[in-house]
């Protein structure tokens, strides 16, 4: 298994993130940009809510018949001259890709953006096989230069500021004049574009992900704004598509429904600049395009997810709307989650893929405000699924001791109503007196975990129960 994750250290990660001023500055861009753009795109399309229902239904239907759609898809790819490889685990997938690279004598591989590639840690596997992977998406390229993981599934370097990127370019692009001006983002883009052009033209193999696979025609679909995915798959002589099994949709019409919600939810565009439908390798008369077309279908725990309540998570189309709208993500960023998938979707998906022991407390990183579910284009009940994980974590005795003993203390009082009322009234009264002047606490004994990074509002003085009975008496 892969799963080099630091998810078990979520609390420490989050703590570091909250005290990182550069990160906090960069994270401001999530809230200001994505939320407004998604809303205006959704508002411009009166059918948007109906399309979300339609997208949910298409995914539910496909998942309920996934075995049959996979068979149909495979037959179509084969008929078009392509090859389908089934990979039960991450290691199986990296071995298949490395074998293809070795067989064609590949030295470098141009890669389009793929979260599956991150999930299976493909770059490390390729390097071990003596093949140099080159990330070509601007964000992924920067991530690769820094030896990091993406912190967001759509905008991989949302955690960085331009001066950090400039420093990386100066460190790596040593053949360029050191006095060049890189202060404008345009010059950073131009420099990356120049560096990557050569790589595209020299690459022996191109690897892309897939946003959807179409069973009707054996087609893989990628959506990009840069065009890097298209160059990655058009110029090298071999194209390998990495896709997980839940990417299937039945028909081109179904794919079109999904595409109508994907870009609007992700970046607030009506549609991405490039939406590319690929079916098999170069045809006899073609003057460009890959000579070989391979699809690696990754399972990695998903077929088992179909059995229980987490099947709903397999509808996810990786639009990132849930993390864009998540107050916890806004505060700590993506790296704190410790594995490939951050935010609410990561909090639900990661425990399924790498185990509840490793990622089981990610679902605790939630305020249960429900914003993620309210924007999810395929209507995944993310808060409910996070709650399922919390229950499982508790059942399996995986919650940390303070939580368990805290709940035990609360349970003691809660079973003794008169004692509970007395204790809570006394506590509220005391806190209210103490906090009267500022209305909030910057620090509280035993609650440092809360008050280090946020204030605790001082209570007004009476408890909910006391006010409830007072209101009832008044009526």
């Amino acid at each position: 298994m892969n799963a080099h994750s630091t998810s078990p250290a979520f609390k420490e990660n989050a703590h570091r993130a909250l005290h990182d001023p550069a990160l906090q500055r960069a994270l401001g861009n999530v809230e200001t940009g994505f939320i407004g753009r998604r809303k205006s795109a959704a508002d411009k399309l009166p059918e948007f809510e109906a399309l979300r229902d339609s997208a949910r239904d298409i995914k539910n239907h496909t998942l309920a018949h996934l075995d049959l759609y996979l068979e149909a898809y495979e037959a179509k790819v084969t008929a078009a001259g392509g090859h389908v490889h089934f990979a039960p685990t991450a290691d199986d997938a990296t071995a298949i890709v490395a074998d293809i690279c070795r067989r064609v004598g590949a030295k470098t591989v141009a890669k389009g953006k793929s979260m599956i590639s991150e999930e299976i840690e493909l770059n490390a596997a390729l390097e071990a096989a003596g093949v140099q992977p080159v990330e070509t998406d601007l964000g992924e390229y920067i991530i690769q230069l820094r030896g990091e993981r993406p912190s967001h599934i759509v905008a991989p370097v949302i955690h960085l500021n331009r001066d950090q990127i400039e420093a990386d370019f100066r460190r790596v692009h040593t053949k360029l004049p050191p006095e060049r001006d890189l202060s404008a983002p345009e010059s950073l883009l131009a420099e990356a574009r120049g560096a990557l052009r050569e790589k595209f033209l020299a690459a022996d193999v191109g690897i892309t992900g897939a946003n959807f696979l179409v069973a009707e025609t054996g087609t893989s679909i990628i959506v990009t704004n840069e065009g890097n995915g298209d160059l990655s798959q058009t110029l090298p002589k071999v194209h390998i598509v990495l896709a997980s099994i839940e990417k299937l949709v039945p028909t081109l019409e179904d794919a079109s429904q999904m595409l109508r919600v994907l870009a609007r939810s992700a970046t607030g565009q009506e549609i991405t600049v490039y939406t590319t439908f690929s079916t098999g390798p170069r045809r006899p008369a073609d003057v460009d395009g890959p000579e070989e077309y391979h699809v690696v279908l990754l399972d990695n725990g998903r077929s088992a997810m179909l059995a229980g309540e987490f099947r709903e998570m397999l509808r996810c189309i990786r639009c990132a709307a849930c993390m864009n709208h998540c107050p916890v993500y806004h505060a700590v960023g993506g790296h704190a989650y410790g594995w490939v998938y951050p935010g609410p979707m990561g909090a639900v998906l990661s425990p399924s893929l790498i185990g509840v022991d490793k990622a089981g407390h990610l679902p605790n990183a939630s305020t249960f405000c429900g914003r993620c579910e309210s924007v999810c284009p395929v209507r995944i009940p993310l808060p409910k699924l996070m709650r399922h994980w919390r229950e499982r974590e508790f059942e399996r005795n995986l919650s940390p001791a303070p939580v368990r003993s805290g709940l035990a203390v609360w349970g003691f009082f809660a079973r003794r109503p008169r004692l509970y009322r007395f204790a809570t009234r006394a506590a509220m009264g005391a806190l209210s007196l103490l906090g009267r002047r500022k209305g909030r606490f910057g620090a509280l004994p035993l609650a440092g975990g809360w008050t280090d990074t946020r204030d605790f509002a001082a209570p007004e003085g009476s408890t909910f129960q006391a006010r409830w009975s007072a209101e009832r008496r008044a009526r």
Partner: protein, 305 residues
């Protein structure tokens, strides 16, 4: 057990199915053949042919593509020459074997036209679109010797010829056309939907144009029924107080298609942005991004105020 059997059998165990159930198989077979349509946006439905063209142009321009309308394909080379000149580009062009491009009177211009795929050293490429979708101003190009895919992505400037009659209302209508041309269940190697020029917002969420693909996307729309809009457009532009000096408004549209051949330089074929007056906040942002990302040596493009 092969990896394939392993995955399929776990899926079936999870679903409580065997894969042999006749009703399930029928449901899947029917769905694959049925091509059922889901929710279709009203904005693209029930429009007249002119209405569809107008929606296509509006959406394409909103995606930062530029659109020039000509009344016959014969006028396309002149329109393309004007685009190249307006951006200080060399009078050179790469194209595939598409009959719609081969048959054009390139000799009326000074453009040096070469043919074949791109290897990355062409400043401009021209393709003929399979079709287009009005709903989002999207072009649909198919791979093959007629229009090599590399021309869509390697040159810095991509020019696409679209026949107004090939503009479909919705994505679903476009798939109908593709099935008509290639047969149901069969696809060309690549279908490229292209909506505007390449861009990236990876750095601090700032929109930058020309990431890996073309910095400019210029659509030459062949519409025999295009009406001369000169007067109306002049009025709109005057109202907006922004008449770009180098844009000679709608002269191609107004021109008689049978008029004697013009000497180069030909009048510009570009249509100015008819929505100058009611430009929204978002487009302003896009314009700013465009301003920033075009090299300073470039004259402003025609859509910029």
């Amino acid at each position: 057990m092969t990896p394939r059997e392993q995955i399929l059998s776990t899926i079936r165990r999870s679903l409580g199915a065997t894969g042999a159930e006749a009703p399930r198989r029928t449901i899947v077979a029917d769905r694959l053949k049925g091509h059922g349509r889901g929710v279709i946006p009203a904005r693209a439905q029930g429009r007249s042919p002119e209405g569809l063209i107008a929606l296509f142009v509006e959406m394409a321009e909103a995606s930062a593509a530029t659109v020039a309308t000509v009344r016959s394909a014969d006028e396309a080379p002149a329109a393309i020459a004007e685009f190249l000149r307006a951006h200080n580009l060399p009078a050179a062009l790469r194209r595939g074997d598409d009959a719609r491009l081969v048959g054009l009177p390139w000799e009326r211009t000074t453009i040096d036209v070469s043919t074949g795929r791109s290897f990355g050293d062409d400043a401009a490429g021209v393709s003929a679109a399979f079709g287009a979708v009005a709903e989002t101003g999207t072009l649909a190009l198919v791979s093959g010797p007629d229009n090599p895919t590399t021309l869509n992505f390697l040159p810095d400037n991509h020019i696409v010829l679209v026949d107004a009659a090939d503009i479909a209302a919705t994505y679903e209508d476009l798939w109908g056309e593709v099935r008509g041309a290639y047969g149901a269940g069969t696809m060309p190697r690549t279908v490229n939907w292209i909506t505007g020029p390449s861009r990236s917002a990876d750095i601090e969420q700032i929109l930058l144009m020309g990431a890996h693909g073309p910095r400019r996307l210029h659509i030459v729309l062949v519409d025999p029924n295009a009406v001369a809009e000169t007067t109306e457009m002049d009025a709109t532009l005057a109202a907006a107080g922004s008449t770009p000096a180098e844009t000679r408004v709608g002269s191609t549209l107004a021109g008689d298609p049978k008029a004697p051949e013009r000497d180069a330089p030909t009048p510009p074929a570009g249509k100015p942005d008819r929505r100058e007056a009611d430009r929204g906040h978002e487009e302003d942002e896009l314009d700013e991004a465009l301003d920033e990302s075009f090299p300073a040596s470039d004259p402003p493009s025609q859509t910029q105020p």
